[in-house]
């Protein structure tokens, strides 16, 4: 059965491969000619195939950005759709090079799985969605509810804590894959559906009648979502980290997909360093000096990626909120290229 297969293969990789190489991911990637990126099996706006079969979304664009930084070509990336249960094993075993799949950064995941989170690309929190017809307005009214949830998520744990702290009972219905959990909620098996609130908005749109459902106001947890790489390969970790920082810095400096070429000759030293006109910052992470310019030409800056996939330019229409730049009331902040 293919569900059980991936962890088994990964387990086998640890058992039989003598001294599995976790160094120099960049060299491996360059040698094979593409980045293998783990994404969601289908979460609208974050990672899902469009009607032509092209992968699109917020998390997907990050993968394309990494590919553009290395190869100056955002198409040199292959996607591996992964369920929540498969994602970490796939990364640990070397099946994928980077995991960009709305994954919550927690201490245990960062320290005991042999993985490192490169940053928080999306500040999220867990919420609940219910049918309007239930007539409830708060998550505190969910006593006795059946709740659909995906297995192996922080969501599953937060929900347990929330109901315990508030002394309420509930009945979790746990699914391995997102589509199955959606379908069960849609068919009325559960009173409520819970995941990160970004995911709730995306899920609501694919339900039979989106207007019959409402997201409750409570946010019960901190869910910093971000890309993940294997521990122990500092160079690859730095690439992942700085591609993300470049996206944020570009938005802050006003560099967009459209104006990146003319910005190269800008008088602003911050912009010149970011785009590689001055300095040799790209070499420090094993890339060319115009790495960031290539990224921005390919996918645009952080704000552009956000608005196109999940913000005002998309069906989801999610407000920037916490994900606005620090200079605009949010908490997205990147160290400078210097």
């Amino acid at each position: 059965m293919n569900r059980a297969l991936l962890p088994s293969i990964a387990a086998a990789a640890f058992i039989f491969v003598a001294g599995s190489a976790n160094a120099a991911t960049l060299d491996d990637v360059k040698a094979k000619g593409f980045v293998q990126c783990g994404v969601n099996t289908g979460l609208l706006g974050f990672g899902s195939p469009d009607d032509q079969g092209n992968w699109t979304g917020f998390d997907v664009d990050y993968c394309r950005a990494v590919a553009a930084a290395i190869f100056n070509d955002p198409q040199k990336v292959k996607f591996t759709p992964l369920s929540t249960a498969e994602r970490f094993t796939a990364l640990q075993s070397g099946e994928i090079d980077i995991l960009s799949r709305n994954t919550t950064w927690t201490m245990a995941r960062d320290t005991s799985l042999g993985l490192s989170f490169v940053g928080t690309t999306y500040y999220d929190g867990q919420g609940f969605m219910v049918r309007k017809s239930l007539g409830i307005t708060s998550a505190l009214e969910l006593t006795g509810a059946s709740i659909c949830v995906q297995t192996g998520t922080t969501t599953e744990l937060n929900m347990a804590d929330f109901f315990r702290v508030n002394n309420m009972n509930y009945n979790p219905v746990v699914f391995e894959k997102l589509p199955e959990a959606n379908a069960a909620y849609d068919s009325g098996r559960c009173d409520a559906y819970t995941t990160d609130s970004s995911g709730l908005y995306a899920t609501r749109l694919v339900l039979t009648n989106p207007d019959e459902h409402v997201v409750l106001p409570e946010i019960i947890s901190k869910e910093p979502l971000g890309p993940v790489v294997r521990q122990g390969d500092t160079q690859w970790f730095n690439i992942g980290k700085w591609v993300f920082f470049a996206l944020i810095n570009a938005e802050e400096l006003g560099v967009t997909q459209a104006n990146v070429e003319e910005m190269k000759s800008s008088e602003n030293q911050d912009i010149r360093r970011l785009l590689g006109t001055d300095g040799t910052f790209g070499e420090g992470i094993g890339l060319t000096n115009d790495w960031a310019a290539n990224v921005l030409k390919a996918v645009g800056n952080y704000g552009e990626i956000f608005e196109k996939n999940i913000g005002s330019g998309s069906k989801l229409g999610i407000a920037r909120g916490l994900n606005a730049l620090w200079s605009k009331g949010g908490i997205q902040y990147a160290p400078p290229v210097r």
Binding site: M1, P7, A11, F14, I15, T89, R109, C148, F175, G188
Partner: protein, 396 residues
């Protein structure tokens, strides 16, 4: 012996190298050494690789707090319980659905298998359609079909079908009144146990009397009265020491009562009806393997068709049926791991799903899960082999 003494083996040309005993020993010893080396290489390799990748290893995680909830628990379980407890919950859920599935699949399979051989055209064709449809569709699709079917046919709790005895059927499952035993209920249990002992004794006595005198005894009816009537009489005599906790609709859902989840129903139905189609073919094959002369001889002795089947054909057919039946049972048990697709908290879903993800210890969790399935299957097949040898033709 005399012959060997008279013709002693010549010493010339004898070499240890060609001694079959020595050779056998050497090769077996070599095999053992190789096996031990392989296992220890795998163990150290795994350990080193996990260490190098900074991934936690070992089995200490089993004692840590789980922190997640499980919808169906046969033993007490909270978020404060350990991962090991979660493992047990998953294991029991697997055993529950596999055990009931084996029973249900056997009953349905036996009936359908016999029906396929029926002289009634309609019955035989219906049974054929059942077998050919179910055994030719992948099980995963059948499970999803049953789950979707169960969910889409059934109404929400507020519009649920009301069944007799205060039970309700909705898309939250089958909600039954829960039984709460009061002090004194032990007498009823005791009466039931006494009735079982009595029935076993009665069967022995009736059998022996029949062997000796040929006189039949209505064992079935007397047993039924003893098994049902006696405990009920005791139950009322001790003042009905049982409370029923009726489910009642409050908020979204039923409060109180005992709930059988739709995931469980879908999995049980899907697994057992699917396996039953294979068992039906095994049963049909077993019956056809018995010579028609047996049936004719039974008819000639005046046996009616039902009795012929029960007393002459089935006992002989069982010998042919049991070995392939064991395969079907093993398949059913292993197939129960598809539960993960429809949200039933079985061993794979709870342990190699949630626990593996929360701890990240894939190697340990997968190894334990595989070991457990292996163990369950070995026990099942050991039992079936024992049963097979018991009913095998006794050659005297």
């Amino acid at each position: 012996m005399a012959i060997e003494e008279s013709a002693p083996r010549p010493d010339k040309g004898y070499s240890l190298f060609y001694d079959p005993k020595v050779r056998g020993f050497v090769f077996q010893a070599l095999m053992v050494v190789l096996l031990v080396a392989l296992v220890s290489w795998i163990a150290t390799n795994t350990y080193t690789n996990l260490r190098r990748a900074n991934i936690a290893s070992g089995f200490d995680f089993l004692g840590a707090r789980s922190g997640f909830d499980i919808s169906q628990t046969l033993i007490s379980y909270t978020t404060d319980s350990t991962y090991f407890r979660a493992f047990l919950v998953g294991l029991l859920n697997t055993l529950l659905v596999a055990g009931l599935g084996v029973v249900l699949a056997s009953v349905v399979g036996l009936l359908v298998g016999i029906a396929r051989l029926s002289k009634n055209w309609l019955v035989a064709k219906l049974a054929t359609i059942y077998v050919e449809t179910l055994r030719n569709i992948p099980l995963l699709l059948l499970l999803l079909f049953w789950y979707k079917a169960v969910l889409s046919v059934l109404p929400s709790p507020r519009q649920s079908f009301t069944l007799p005895f205060g039970s309700f059927l909705s898309n939250r499952g089958l909600t039954l009144p829960a039984t709460q035993f009061q002090p004194g209920a032990g007498w009823t249990l005791l009466a039931f146990i006494a009735a079982i002992v009595f029935v076993i004794g009665l069967a022995f006595w009736a059998n022996r009397r029949r062997m000796a005198t040929g006189k039949p005894f209505p064992t079935l009816w007397v047993s039924l009265v003893a098994l049902i009537g006696f405990p009920i009489a005791v139950f009322y005599a001790t003042g009905s020491p049982l409370n029923l906790n009726f489910p009642e609709l409050r908020g979204f859902n039923f409060v109180g009562g005992f709930n059988i989840h739709p995931e469980f129903l879908a999995l049980l139905l899907g697994l057992s009806l699917y396996t039953a189609s294979f068992i039906a073919e095994v049963v049909r094959g077993g019956i056809l393997a018995i010579s028609n002369g047996q049936t004719e001889a039974a008819y000639a002795l005046g046996f009616r068709p039902g009795r012929t089947l029960r007393l002459i054909i089935i006992p002989q057919a069982l010998r042919v049926i049991i070995p392939p039946l064991t395969n079907q049972y093993l398949n059913l048990i292993k197939n129960s791991s598809l539960a993960v697709a429809i949200g039933y908290p079985d061993l794979v879903s709870v342990f190699s799903g949630t626990v593996m993800n929360q701890t990240g210890q894939a190697v340990e969790v997968i190894a334990i899960t595989m070991g457990v399935y292996l163990l369950i299957s070995l026990i099942t097949s050991a039992f079936m082999n024992w049963f097979n040898s018991r009913i095998a033709l006794k050659e005297r």
